[in-house]
Symmetry: C2
Subunit: 221 residues, 2 copies
DNA sequence: TCACTAATGTACGAACTAGTACGTTAGTCA
DNA sequence: TGACTAACGTACTAGTTCGTACATTAGTGA
């Protein structure tokens, strides 16, 4: 996330629309992720920036639109990361495993993003629906999966009938759940899914699961 | 969930503590699931019951404790369902598949429960932590998984090193994500994970995934 | 250098919202 | 049958929270 700090002019205020907007988005991301949409406080967000509440309304229009902007930026970060995906020089099995691991890493490194997505689902994705930007972005990762799958299926390594969106859902489900449901799962089963000591274990488990699914012989059913 | 309706006495009020409590819990479940903890309105809950806000405070003490009570009951429903799990007469492969399918079905049939759990995770499971009842319940499903795994491993059907809690996490992740993230996933990828026409497809996918993972040969890595 | 506008700050209000003080009544048990 | 209490209702308040009216200033282009 774009964090900004520079020596504020001794007395007078500095004018920098881009910086002010970015700072509001930074703080708002944390506040919405912390407390949910209804729980987040516009006054609290304003207090934690170097500007005032007035500016939130000036730049974003309202709480609702601010949340949408926060979501847009958060999804933008993922999209960028996905665009740098470079796994297609690997053989299909290694490529899928690597892609799954990168999803695993990204989710782990962006718990606020996970929380925002959970929150947006409580609101039935109404902000995504209201956002032009979010409506039209595809998923670079999906294209990558599509190509790897095709190549793996052609060479007979993978079971024929697996769909890219489904595989993406499977990988996301594992990675998302691990971070999003960390707290209830920990409280109920006494196991921290995000324990650093278990990180490699779960990372391998994900890869094993996906590869096992893709290479399994399903004729026996 | 315990829904209650009976002919209200023409004029006078009826006194039935159990019914009043249950009715409050019913309505509160829906309201919290709809809007999250902070977004839920105590007045709204009261308005939708046949009693008044006063009673919510009389019986539960406050909004926070009401949410905890709602969670306790919701988890109670799952626990009951899990106690009726009857799969151990099946061979290990069929038993695990059946167990996964029952989890799949239960999650699908209780979207409000899924939402409550998502909400509780936003609040870092603080209500579960505050609840004696929820702290001490184990998971009947977990015991079942443990026994099936052991039997499957003993007979050499399953890979040796799989842990019951991990397998439970894997199954839950798939089932939970499908329901919880339905809206954002649908908005971004144009696919409804809970589309009835795709139900059997995803139900099979889950079973295939779990069995493939459990029976895969991991020696080659 | 001056006028003009984008950017900013202050102060305030209207509506909402969790929670409570106080009064009432239905059922029950001695 | 009468007294006692659990169960219930009404009306209100204190504090919060989103949003805005109004005033101000920094930068910029003519």
């Amino acid at each position: 996330m774009t964090s900004v700090d520079e020596p504020a002019r001794p007395n007078g205020r500095i004018r920098d629309a881009a910086r002010t907007k970015a700072e509001i988005l930074d703080v708002a991301t944390r506040e919405f992720a912390r407390a949910g949409f209804a729980g987040a406080r516009v006054d609290e967000i304003a207090a934690r920036t170097r500007t005032t509440k007035r500016m939130i309304y000036y730049y974003f229009g309202g709480k609702e639109q601010l949340f949408t902007a926060v979501l847009e930026r958060a999804y933008g970060v993922i999209r960028e990361a996905e665009q740098e995906l470079d796994v297609e020089h690997l053989d299909p099995v290694a490529a899928i495993r690597r892609l799954a691991e990168l999803t695993f890493d990204h989710h782990e490194q962006h718990p606020d993003f996970i929380r925002l997505v959970s929150i947006e689902n409580i609101h039935e994705a109404e902000h995504i629906a209201a956002s032009e930007e979010l409506g039209r972005i595809g998923s670079p990762a999906l294209d990558v999966i599509r190509r790897i799958l095709e190549s793996g299926q052609k060479s007979g390594l993978f079971t024929a009938d697996v769909d890219a969106v489904d595989l993406h859902a499977m990988i996301s489900a594992f990675c998302f759940f691990r971070v999003a449901n960390r707290h209830t799962f920990g409280a109920l089963f006494g196991r921290d899914l995000v324990d650093p000591a278990q990180r490699e274990h779960y990372r391998n488990m994900l890869g094993d699961m996906v590869i096992a699914y893709l290479t399994a012989d399903r004729s026996e059913d």
